[in-house]
């Protein structure tokens, strides 16, 4: 950890002012940032503690959806009655992540901005383009069991580790941000980005911009949904592959469906083509398999993670089955249904 200045603003304008400049970091729950600072991966010279900003509420939006404050904790969000009733997919995805203790501290803004769990990124004794541009990617051809199979670049094959973000992608949420140039609303699918030749950029936030909230559209998927997370043990591990499905059935035909994958790319992975081929179809394994093929088209293993391709295919099919049957994956049973 290096030395840093510390500010704890109480209003947004002040926070944005404090947050401008080089090597500044916003501190929310700290469950990721502080770890990274201890490991000398994050080396901010100024830390702006945003926990005193009035961004902790969960409110109805005019459009009829919900606005999740950036500083509402993951626990508050997952157990909010409105979230549970109207967006159980989101609640489920949050509860699939980390542990109760971490979720109590973690915030919504921090969650979607958490950084990759790539082993190399975390270890300053190793090369990593995301941490130190130009050093090379340590994971390429080496220990990459947890890495991406889609949307990779020769510079970086990291994944985005958030479970919550996968559900938000399926729900077509929007991220509300503010900064020196004013407020913006970013569709969730545009919020995270692929590594391309700038792997150090996880998302499309501009320097100094702050997430104030996440808007959920009015559309609810409270009957046919599932968040299925496959990992190395049944809890407290990041996803090797996860699938968020939000579905609407009309007379046993699929009227609408969204499928987002976690653990496979630098961002939650969605492809509308894969969803489109299910429209109007009555739910069955074969159709689900076809959608999986389209969603995974072009997937490429990195050696130690080749298994993720068949794993993702099977997980997509299962999650679609769970959603269609109205039997979503439980996050508290000690089993995969």
């Amino acid at each position: 950890m290096i030395r840093f200045d510390y500010a704890r603003p109480t209003d947004l304008a002040e926070a944005v002012r404090e947050g401008s400049g080089e090597q500044v970091a916003y501190l929310a729950g700290g469950t990721n940032l502080v770890d990274l600072m201890k490991e000398n991966v994050a080396r901010p010279t100024r830390v702006v503690d945003i926990t005193r900003l009035p961004l902790a509420d969960i409110q109805e939006t005019e459009a009829g959806g919900l606005r999740l404050g950036a500083l509402a904790t993951n626990t508050e969000t997952a157990y909010d009655e409105r979230v549970r009733a109207r967006y159980p997919l989101l609640s489920s995805a949050i509860l699939a992540g980390a542990t109760a203790q971490l979720r109590n501290a973690a915030t919504n803004g921090g969650n979607i901005n958490q950084r990759t769990r790539c082993y190399y990124f975390y270890d300053v004794g190793t090369p990593c383009n995301k941490r130190a541009p130009g050093q090379g990617c340590g994971a390429l051809g080496e220990v990459n069991r947890i890495h991406a199979i889609l949307g990779t670049s020769p510079q970086c094959i990291a994944t985005h580790p958030s479970d919550m973000a996968v559900a938000l992608a399926a729900l077509k949420a929007e991220v509300r941000v503010t900064g020196a140039e004013g407020d913006r609303v970013i569709p969730f699918s545009d919020y995270h980005r692929l590594p391309s030749d700038e792997p150090w950029r996880d998302n499309t936030l501009r320097p100094g911009e702050l997430v104030t909230g996440i808007d959920l559209p009015p559309e609810e998927f409270s009957t046919n949904y599932s968040y299925l997370k496959l990992r190395d043990r049944l809890s407290y591990a990041f996803a090797l592959v996860s699938v968020a499905v939000a579905m609407r059935l009309e007379e046993n035909r699929i009227a609408e469906v969204r499928i987002a994958l976690g653990g496979v790319a630098h961002k939650p992975w969605r492809r509308e083509e894969a969803e489109d081929i299910l429209l109007g179809v009555s739910p069955d394994r074969e159709a689900f398999g076809r959608a999986a093929e389209v969603l995974l088209d072009g997937a490429k293993g990195q050696g130690a993670n080749d298994f993720k391709i068949p794993m993702a295919r099977k997980a997509i099919v299962r999650a679609l089955e769970q959603a269609a049957a109205g039997t979503p994956q439980s996050q508290t049973d000690k089993r995969i249904a």
């Binding site: 000398n40 809890s235 298994f307």
Partner: protein, 754 residues
């Protein structure tokens, strides 16, 4: 009829007793090595090296030294001089080779090797400055890939003391060639790191008068004391080592770790108190269970009766020491076969030396052997349990000596009954519920029962309180509680009148705690010490008016209960211990005794085998499509002689079983061979089972009276729980799915295939 008023209420050996240190631990009163408050202390932060092999070409400390509060940066260039000879660095385990010496020279032997120690007035300054130490290297070619290292495997000419070479019988090759049934396969176990909860840590209290107290995380205070005295030139009067509480170790504390060496070096150099705590990442830069490769060839008659056992194993070590394990002997000891042969080698890689980790050797060798046995059982079309019984050996089949006891048959019987093994359907993939395939597997566990020279002191005061002291360690196993029970049993005192002090080199002699021998050895010493106190009490009773115990010729003639001595032949005659002491004018009775194997024991150790046995039964449920394995039931039936404290003993088995589940499904340190470095060096990515992975575990202790194995009839339970648990699980996975996995852990990717 004895007078019921004198019916003793006995709490003693066999009574389930809560941990005596439990309240201290949960209320924070128990201090671990890094928690001692020492005034005016320096904080030391270790800088870990980047490359796996080569040399340091430069160290720029300027920026680090410029940080306010930094007092010193120790490196190989400015460290105080230390003795030359390896002899001075040998620890109790005495591993052949050149023991690692931190900051010794510019040579780099493994990735993460300490290259500097930054000392500062605050932890924050030390940590910040440590990040500023700029080290440059010249790298040399390295290898940490086990498979590649097998090309260099060899049998060391100088063997580790604890190593038991296999004893061959008959002609295993010819018997295998002629066998009606054959099985041959290669098995593998990944590298595992111990990862106790408590990081290795040392607080040196530099008293300023030439003496120092070293609070250190280790499994043997006196071994670490000798090590430090030999290197730094202190006498044992000057340097005291305390390990009163240890937050787990699993073998990682059997040898002094480099932080204690660095902390004492720094204290001596600065003449100040110093604390050095490893980070979790640094916990991956030293001890680890060796990676193992084991080829097993089994020959049998058509009935399944073994005719040949042949094992050839290699385990990993470093380039500077030859750590050895007993891998191939376990199957040879356990199963009757006229022909048997074993070969063993080590393979060096550019890592720190591998080390003993819970049930070293057996957890690897017996576990993998039991997967091979399962394979042959299927080939012979014999139920896996019947197959073990068919090849059961009443004697030690390798040494050809009888056992002091072996209640393995009973363990099989009781374990199978509790599990319901009878209703198993033999065919793989034949049991199913919903989407899950169900598999039942079993395996045999084996470990040794040891007894080593240990001393203890018992001190009874006139207020009826007893204090037990011994240098033995309690690495979380419940040793202290066990010693209280033995004392309660011997002197008939309630446990709340007995206190225990352990984990301090000033206390009566005890070797390093490991190998499941602390309860047997420490318990025997406490019993002797308490008996000596008892004798003096009986003598003191002579002074009591009317000499009610006159008829007692020795302590054999009285029962100690309720703080009294009661005449066996006439229970109406009794004297309280307090009255006896008062009558004799005694304030304190203090006795120190040493339990050690006598000549007869030593002869018996050569002519009789001493082992702990277990039968492990596992149920798994596998969602094959998604590669999800759940271990829904384990029954572990253990034959471990006498159980002193059923409660803590059960906990030991539970912990061992959970660790075995980790071995089966999770634990694996992943290495990057290009960098020569372990990569998943944190507890988020190095997986061990969590609560959600653990279901029903049933522990059974079968009756196994054995007065000969150790003085108390105790065999020890620290390791047996992990042995072969992974085999039972792997065998259950085969039964469920028909997939045979020979490389542990069986992670989700291995199951899901392509």
């Amino acid at each position: 009829m004895p007078d019921t008023r004198h019916e003793p209420i006995r709490v003693g050996i066999g009574t389930p007793l809560d941990r005596v240190d439990g309240p201290d631990k949960v209320t924070g009163q128990a201090h671990y090595a890094a928690e001692y408050a020492v005034p005016n202390m320096l904080y030391g932060v270790i800088v870990s090296g980047r490359i796996a092999r080569g040399r340091i070409t430069g160290i720029d400390e300027t920026a680090a030294r410029a940080v306010p509060g930094v007092v010193e940066v120790l490196t190989h260039r400015n460290r105080p001089s230390t003795p030359w000879l390896d002899r001075n660095y040998k620890d109790e385990l005495n591993i052949p080779g050149d023991p690692f010496r931190a900051l010794e020279s510019e040579h780099i032997l493994f990735s993460g090797q300490p290259v500097a120690l930054v000392l500062a007035e605050t932890f924050e300054a030390a940590r910040f400055a440590a990040s500023l130490v700029d080290v440059s290297y010249e790298a040399a070619a390295h290898n940490i890939d086990f498979e590649a290292s097998l090309a260099e495997r060899f049998l060391p000419s100088k063997k580790r003391n604890s190593y038991h070479p296999p004893k061959n019988h008959g002609d295993a090759d010819a018997a295998f060639a002629a066998a009606e049934l054959k099985h041959e396969a290669r098995y593998h176990l990944a590298t595992e790191h111990h990862n106790p909860m408590e990081m290795h840590a040392t607080t040196v209290d530099w008293h300023g008068d030439g003496t120092l107290t070293v609070y250190d995380k280790n499994q043997g205070s006196q071994g670490v004391q000798s090590y430090l005295c030999n290197i730094f030139g202190f006498s044992k009067k000057e340097l005291r080592v305390v390990n009163a509480f240890v937050g787990g170790a699993f073998g990682s504390g059997l040898r002094p770790q480099y932080q204690v060496y660095l902390a004492v070096m720094a204290a001596k150099h600065t003449q100040r108190s110093v604390r050095v705590v490893m980070t979790r990442q640094q916990m991956f830069t030293h001890a680890h269970r060796p990676e193992a490769d084991y080829t097993i060839r089994l020959g049998a008659e058509a009935t399944g009766k073994l005719t040949s056992i042949d094992g050839d194993a290699t385990t990993s070590t470093s380039r500077f020491e030859n750590n050895m394990e007993d891998i191939v002997i376990w199957g040879m000891i356990n199963y009757a076969s006229p022909n048997m042969k074993g070969e063993y080698c080590v393979a060096p890689r550019d890592t720190y030396t591998s080390a003993d980790m819970r049930a070293p050797g057996a957890a690897t060798g017996m576990t993998l052997f039991e997967i091979a046995m399962d394979e042959l059982a299927y080939k012979a079309k014999v139920d896996p349990l019947d197959f073990r019984l068919l090849n059961y050996s009443d004697i030690d089949a390798m040494y050809r000596t009888p056992f002091t006891s072996k209640a393995l048959r009973e363990a099989y019987r009781d374990g199978a009954a509790a599990f319901g093994w009878d209703s198993r359907s033999p065919e793989p993939r034949s049991m199913k519920e919903g989407r899950e395939l169900i598999g039942w597997g079993m395996a045999t566990g084996l470990w040794t029962a040891e007894f080593v020279k240990t001393s203890a002191k018992a001190k009874l005061t006139a207020d009826g309180r007893l204090e037990i002291t011994s240098a033995t360690s309690d690495i979380g196993t419940g040793t202290g509680t066990v010693l209280v029970l033995v004392a309660a049993d011997t002197l008939g005192l309630p446990p709340d009148r007995i206190s225990v002090r352990i984990g301090d080199s000033d206390l009566p002699h005890s070797p390093v705690q490991g190998g499941s021998r602390a309860a047997a050895s420490g318990g025997a010493a406490v019993q002797l010490a308490c008996e000596a106190v008892g004798k003096r009490l009986l003598k003191a009773a002579e002074k009591v008016d009317g000499q009610p115990l006159h008829a007692a010729r020795s302590i054999e003639d009285v029962i100690f209960a309720d703080g009294r001595m009661i005449l066996k032949s006439d229970p109406s005659k009794a004297v309280s211990c307090a009255d006896a002491m008062q009558a004799a004018g005694l304030e304190v009775i203090e006795e120190e005794q040493t339990a050690q194997p006598g000549l007869a024991d030593r002869i018996s150790q050569m002519t009789r085998s001493r082992n702990v046995h277990s039968a492990v039964f596992a149920e798994v449920r596998v969602d094959e499509e998604l590669g999800q394995i759940r271990v829904t039931r384990i029954v572990n039936a253990v034959a471990a002689g006498r159980i002193i404290n059923p409660k803590t003993a059960r906990s030991q088995i539970l912990g061992g079983v959970v660790m075995g589940m980790g071995m089966a499904l999770h634990e694996e340190t992943l290495g990057d061979n290009r960098l020569g470095r372990w990569m998943n060096h944190n507890l988020a990515e190095y997986h061990i089972p969590v609560n959600a992975d653990v279901h029903d575990i049933q522990v059974i202790f079968v009756d196994e009276p054995d007065p000969d194995v150790t003085p108390l009839g105790v065999k020890g339970v620290g390791e047996i729980g992990i042995v072969s648990t992974a085999a039972a699980i792997a065998n259950a996975i085969f039964h469920a799915t028909g997939q045979r996995h020979r490389s542990l852990p069986i992670t989700i990717d291995k199951l899901i295939g392509t």
